[in-house]
Symmetry: C2
Subunit: 344 residues, 2 copies
C-alpha cells in the first residue's frame, strides 16, 4: 500500500463516520449541529449543503494507519478516528475565538459569522460528540477494557491541549520564553493530539502498551517536525505558496522557535527582545528582525531541530518493526517525509 | 440521617476530592489551574488562597445521596460527584462568557478578570478534568462496566447541556417560543445535569438500570421545579432576599415560563409580544408587563407547574422505595422540599 492509496481508501470512510456523528437529533437543535457541519466544510454560511475544501484529516488518518500498522483491522478504529478529528476541530473553533482569527481555510470562522456565544457553545457540543464517538467502538467489537484505555488517553490528551494553549497565550505577554518552554508548549498544542492518534489506533489494533507508546512517540515527533516546519514557513515561506504574506509571524510578533532561538542568543538576544518589547512592527522593523535571525543562525538551528524530530519519529517506528504490518509502517514513514517536505 | 447531617458530612469530602483534581501538574501551567480554583472560590483575584462562599455543591450532593439511597457506600461515588461539580462549573465559566455576565456569587467572573481567551480555555481544561475524574472510580473498586456506563451517561448529559444552551440563546431572537420549547430548553440546561447526578450515584451504588432511571426522573423533576421557582423569583422575588432588583428578568427580557405563558395566552399574548418586540424596556413598560402577566394568571400557572414537577419527583422516589436505603430516600425528599421552598 502507498500513502495515496491509504488516503483514497480511508478518507471517504472517515467522512461518513463524521457525518453520522453530526446528525442533529431533532429539528429544534438542528442549527447547533449545522454550525458544526459548516466548520467541517459541509455547509455554507446560509447553512445550505456545500463542499468547501476540508482539512487534511491527518489525525484520523494517523489513527487508522496506527491500527493497521499494529496488525488490526483499520475499520475497527473508525469511531476513534472520527473522535480525534472532532476534538481537533473543537479546538480550532475555540482557538479561532481566542486568537480572534476571522478566516480559516479561506472561509469566515464560525464566531465571525454567528458570534462568540454561539460558536463557543457549538465548540462545547463538538467536544462532547468527540468523546461520545468512542462508545461506538463497542459496536465494532473492540473490547470494553480497550475502549476504556483509549478513552482515558484521549481525555488526558484533551487536557494537555488546553495546557499547551494556556502556555501559548501566556507567551504573548512574556519576553523571557526559553526554547524549553516552547518545546513544552508545542508538545501540548500539536504533539499531544498527533501522538495519541496513532497510539489509540495501535491499541485498538491489538498493540501492547509498549508498542503503542512507540506509535505515540512517532506521532508526537512528527507533530514537532510539522510545527517547526510551520515556524519556518511563517517567516521565510513563499507568499505564493503559503497564502500568507512573507514574515507574517514576525509582523504578528509570534514567538516561534526561530525567534526564541535568536532571543536566547548571547550575541543578538538583547537587541531582539528590545525590538519585541516595543509597539507594533513596521516593515523596517521586520527587516531588522530578519537580520538578527540571520546572525543567530536561527533558520539553520530550526532546520536541525526538524531533522532531529524526524530522526526521533523514524527511530520510534523502527522499534515496532518486527510486529504488526510492515507495509503500513512504511506508509507511516512516507507520511512523515511528505508532511515535512511541504512548502505551504 | 437528616439533610443537614448529609451536607455536613459530605461537603468536606467533596471539597477534598475537587482540590486533588485541580492540583497543577507543574509550575508552568499553574495559572491555568489556579484560575479554575478562583472560579471554585478557593483563590482571590491575585490568585492567592482565600475563601469565598462556594456554590451549593448540589450536584455532587445528589450523586452521593443517590449512591447511598441505592444501598451503596457513598464514598465510592466521590470521584463522579466531583466530576459532576466540575462539569457544572465548566458550564458556568462558558455561560458567563456567552451571557457577558460580569459577576457570579458576588465576585467578578473569570472572563471579566482574565479575558475571554484565557477563560474559554480554562473552561475547556475543567471540562477535561471533569471527565478524567471518572477514571478514579476504579481506585474505589467500582467495576469497569459501571465506570463505562456512568461515563457514557455523563458525556450524553454534557451534550444535552450544550443543546439546552443553544435553545436558550436562540430564544432571545424569537417571539414565537412555546411552552413546550421552553420545557425542552430547561430539560437540557438544568434537568440533564440534575437528573444524571443521582442516576450516576445510584448506578455506582448498585442500582439496576430501571431503578437508576427513577433517580434520574427524580433529579430531572427537581431541576424543573428549581428552575421554575427561579423564574418566579426573577419576576416577583424580594430584592432584599434575591440580591437582584425586582422584575430583573423582565428588564432583561428573559423568556422564562411566566412570560411565555402570557405570550401564548389568547387574551394578552399579542400585546405582550408587541411590547417585547420593541427596544429596551423602561420602568413603565415593566409595569405594563406585570399587569399582563397578572391578567394571564402566569404566576399561578407557574406555581401549578412547580407543584406538578414536585409530584413527579416524589412519585419517582416512591418507585424505588422497597429497595436500597429508605432513610436516604427520605433525605432526597427533604432536599426537594427545601430547594423549592427557598426565597432566594
Amino acid at each position: 500500500m502507498m500513502l495515496s492509496e491509504a488516503i483514497a481508501g480511508y478518507i471517504p470512510l472517515i467522512e461518513e463516520e463524521l457525518r453520522s456523528l453530526l446528525e442533529p437529533p431533532n429539528r429544534a437543535v438542528a442549527g447547533h449541529y449545522e454550525i458544526m457541519q459548516y466548520h467541517l466544510g459541509w455547509r455554507d454560511q446560509a447553512l445550505q449543503p456545500s463542499t468547501a475544501p476540508a482539512g487534511k484529516r491527518l489525525r484520523p488518518l494517523l489513527c487508522l494507519l496506527g491500527c493497521a500498522a499494529a496488525g488490526g483491522n483499520p475499520l475497527d478504529a473508525l469511531p476513534a478516528a472520527a473522535g480525534l478529528e472532532l476534538l481537533h476541530n473543537f479546538s480550532l473553533l475555540h482557538d479561532d475565538i481566542e486568537d480572534r482569527s476571522e478566516t480559516r481555510r479561506h472561509r469566515p470562522t464560525a464566531w465571525s459569522i454567528w458570534g462568540v456565544p454561539i460558536a463557543c457553545n457549538v465548540g462545547d457540543g463538538m467536544f462532547s460528540l468527540a468523546h461520545l464517538a468512542f462508545f461506538r467502538l463497542r459496536d465494532r467489537g473492540v473490547p470494553e477494557s480497550v475502549v476504556a484505555t483509549v478513552l482515558q488517553r484521549f481525555i488526558e490528551m484533551a487536557l494537555a491541549l488546553t495546557e499547551g494553549q494556556y502556555l501559548d497565550m501566556s507567551f504573548e505577554q512574556r519576553l523571557d520564553v526559553s526554547v524549553a518552554d516552547y518545546d513544552a508548549m508545542i508538545a501540548g498544542k500539536t504533539g499531544a493530539l498527533l501522538g495519541v492518534a496513532p497510539e489509540i489506533g495501535a491499541l485498538i489494533g491489538g498493540a501492547s502498551v509498549e508498542e503503542a507508546a512507540c506509535y505515540r512517540q512517532y506521532g508526537a515527533a512528527l507533530g514537532r517536525a510539522f510545527q517547526l516546519q510551520d515556524d519556518i514557513l511563517g517567516i521565510w515561506g513563499d507568499e505564493q505558496q503559503t497564502g500568507k504574506s512573507t514574515a507574517s509571524d514576525i509582523l504578528t510578533k509570534k514567538k516561534t522557535l526561530p525567534v526564541l532561538i535568536a532571543m536566547n542568543h548571547p550575541g543578538v538576544g538583547a537587541t531582539l527582545r528590545a525590538l519585541y518589547a516595543g509597539d507594533a512592527f513596521d516593515e523596517a522593523d521586520v527587516g531588522k528582525v530578519l537580520v538578527l535571525l540571520d546572525r543567530a543562525a536561527a533558520r539553520v538551528a530550526t532546520e536541525e531541530a526538524i531533522g532531529e524530530a524526524m530522526q526521533a519519529a523514524r527511530s520510534a517506528l523502527r522499534r515496532v518493526t518486527g510486529s504488526g504490518d510492515l507495509a503500513t509502517q512504511r506508509v507511516l514513514a512516507e507520511l512523515l517525509d511528505n508532511l515535512v517536505a511541504r512548502s505551504s
